[in-house]
């Protein structure tokens, strides 16, 4: 059985659930969102990723209705949201602080939104029970928020925001307060719940690993603008700028001048060093400034000169970061550049052959890196 890939953004007939149209938001002199246009589709798990102050939270708060755009329009399911207050939107939010009502029990917290809809008691009770089961909280229904753990509180917040079956669920740094192990478990739980309920999720996070894990698409933001929107794999393998490449994961950047040569582009980057050969679909002018970006795990390291590598450079091991499953070698080139090379530790440590101050060769193929204009 072949499974169709979930990619509504590639389908021109698909109607987006959320449309940002030239949205600008200013707070006094400060521009939080700068002329932003973006579509988000139904059933997507869309991650807004960026450093603090990049405007990602503002974008989310505009979707929830807590902020209104200074300019531009936001549509949800085709409807202009400008005049719609937060309590009239089919959008629910899971707050960073969870914002659980301390005077109400877990059960009452989850029922809060349902009661406002004026549903009858049995329907509310049934829905609350369903949510408690979904988030595995049935045992804690009668507890108050201060009587449960952080992870449980996080699940109550999720259950409460899902109870009204919103078209769109907003998650503001939902896992920020959890420790690493719990966070990873919860990420998979979130994806699972998103799939089960079929709700569109928009998540705000500054943790790139989290965004990569959960999201169907990631938007990398900086200074009120979206720099790139793509699937996690594309963002990682084909960043469109040095900013994105640098923000997501670890990367080596070598800047130089372009010298086009058929479908190959040669980067001239330092006197007396061999030029770096890369492959690209974009056209570069000769002599144009160009940045060659390559992930450390795509750089091989060896003590002997590799024979058939497209690019090879000689250097000296400066530092070794041992991370258990992998090791990162910092290799200093004669030019002063430091290139990071990563290898998986398939052997036990005692058999490792490269150590500090060793002269080494680093090499990579002509398709391993990407060439970036900016």
């Amino acid at each position: 059985m072949s499974q169709t890939v979930f990619a509504p953004w590639d389908d021109p007939n698909e109607k987006p659930l959320i449309q940002f149209r030239n949205v600008t938001k200013r707070f006094g002199d400060f521009t939080a969102i700068d002329d932003l246009t973006q579509d988000i589709y139904t059933r997507e798990f869309f991650a807004l990723l960026g450093p603090s102050g990049c405007g990602k939270t503002t974008m989310m708060r505009m979707l929830a209705g807590f902020e209104t755009p200074t300019e531009g329009k936001i549509f949800i399911a085709g409807q202009d949201m400008a005049k719609i207050p937060p309590n009239k939107r089919a959008v629910n939010m899971m707050f960073q602080s969870y914002a659980l009502f301390p005077h109400l029990s877990v059960w009452e917290n989850i029922a809060f939104g349902l009661k406002r809809e004026g549903k009858d008691k049995d329907a509310i009770a049934a829905r609350v029970e369903e949510m408690l089961r979904l988030t595995r909280l049935s045992k804690f229904a009668k507890r108050k928020p201060h009587q449960i753990s952080g992870g449980q509180r996080q699940r109550v917040a999720l259950a409460r925001s899902l109870a009204k079956a919103p078209k769109l669920l907003l998650l503001d740094e939902p896992l920020g307060a959890l420790d690493k192990k719990l966070r990873q478990d919860t990420q998979f739980e979130l994806m699972d719940i998103q799939e089960k309920t079929g709700t569109t999720f928009v998540i705000v996070t500054h943790d790139q690993e989290e965004a990569m894990t959960v999201a169907s698409r990631v938007a990398v933001m900086d200074e009120g603008r979206i720099i790139q929107v793509a699937t996690p794999a594309q963002i990682y393998e084909a960043p469109n700028s040095v900013y994105v490449a640098d923000f997501i994961g670890d990367v080596n950047i070598i800047s130089g001048r372009a010298k086009p040569n058929g479908d190959k582009v040669v980067t001239q980057w330092a006197e007396g060093q061999p030029d770096i050969i890369g492959t690209t679909a974009t056209k570069f002018d000769a002599g144009q400034e160009i940045h060659f970006a390559i992930r450390p795990e795509k750089v091989a390291i060896s003590t002997e000169e590799p024979q058939d590598a497209a690019n090879k450079l000689q250097g000296k091991v400066l530092d070794i970061a041992y991370l258990g499953n992998i090791s990162t070698y910092h290799v200093a080139l004669p030019t002063g550049h430091v290139i990071k090379a990563q290898t998986a530790n398939t052997r036990r440590l005692s058999r490792r052959q490269i150590t500090w101050e060793d002269p080494v060769w680093i090499s990579f193929t002509d398709t391993a890196g990407v060439l970036l204009e900016r």
């Binding site: 929830a64 309590n87 959008v91 602080s97 914002a99 009502f101 406002r116 009204k164």
Partner: protein, 296 residues
């Protein structure tokens, strides 16, 4: 040993300054009035030994408490005090809550200043402030002159020496005691709770009723007790601002003591007042304790 000393200090303080005075007042309330100095009988004379002690206790009786039930002045005064205290507590709450709310919502850099303004009146003598109200509320006072000048009224309003003046005085005096606990409850409240309530379908008003009020409940209760308890026994405000029709137990007590020089009856009035106050004080402490446990 050190722990024992640490605990003993506050207990000694309480015994010396609260329990002993209370026992003395209780003893006087069980005595008879006498034309002597001090103006009551019997006196404890330990020089007569055991016999003196038994004859001393034999002289004590509940006559004065019985007397309080025979004259309807007393229970009317108690009742009227309770009613005035209750009404003014509600009025203080109505005036104080919006002030506390506005303070808690104000920009953080303004809050210390606003808090200062609430506490500022305490820097002036309470008595002087009550006299100032006499100047404001009297027939030729500032308020009447201002209203006449505005043309709102043709004749001066009689406010001074009525219950209205007493209410104004009480609300004014005890307002900080209402504002401060409510403010501290509201200030601690996380704003995202209101956003969450709105997000889940509440209007601003229903979010206020369902979230803000319940979360400031402990502040409201604390404020109400802090106003209600001292107001019942209030003496200065009704005697200075109130009229002959204002009946409050504090005033009755004062008259028994200083006008009638009937110390035993005055003491009996005081003992009963204390018993009435014990109930709200216990309730107040329970509320405080519950709050501490909830925050635990």
């Amino acid at each position: 040993m050190r722990r024992f000393v640490l605990i003993a200090v506050p207990y000694l303080w309480l015994i010396a300054l609260f329990l002993i005075p209370f026992v003395i007042v209780l003893k006087i309330s069980l005595s008879d009035v006498a034309l002597a100095r001090p103006p009551y009988f019997p006196q404890l004379d330990l020089s007569q030994g055991w016999e003196g002690l038994t004859s001393f206790f034999a002289e004590l009786d509940f006559e004065n408490f019985w007397f309080l039930t025979t004259d309807d002045l007393y229970w009317k005064a108690y009742l009227s005090s309770l009613q005035i205290a209750l009404t003014s507590t509600v009025m203080t709450l109505i005036v104080g809550y919006p002030i506390a709310y506005a303070m808690a919502r104000a920009a953080p850099e303004w809050r210390p200043t606003l808090l200062m303004l609430v506490i500022l009146p305490f820097w002036t003598s309470f008595l002087i402030r009550v006299y100032a109200w006499m100047g404001i509320l009297s027939n030729e006072g500032l308020l009447n002159q201002f209203l006449l000048w505005l043309g709102v009224i043709n004749e001066p309003l009689t406010i001074l020496n009525t219950n209205t003046a007493v209410y104004i005085g009480i609300v004014y005096t005890y307002l900080p005691f209402m504002i401060l606990p409510i403010y501290s409850a509201l200030e601690r409240m996380d704003d995202s709770l209101l956003e969450a309530a709105e997000d889940l379908g509440c209007s601003r008003l229903s979010a206020f009723w369902l979230v803000t009020i319940p979360l400031s409940k402990n502040g409201i209760i604390a404020g109400c007790f802090l106003v209600f308890i001292p107001t019942i026994g209030e003496f200065v405000i009704p005697s200075l601002l109130g009229g002959s029709g204002t009946l409050m137990i504090g005033k009755v007590l004062w008259e028994e003591f200083f006008s009638n020089r009937d110390w035993p009856v005055a003491s009996a009035v005081a003992v009963i007042l204390l018993l009435i106050l014990v109930i709200p004080i216990i309730l107040f402490q329970r509320n405080e304790q519950k709050q501490r446990e909830a925050e635990g």
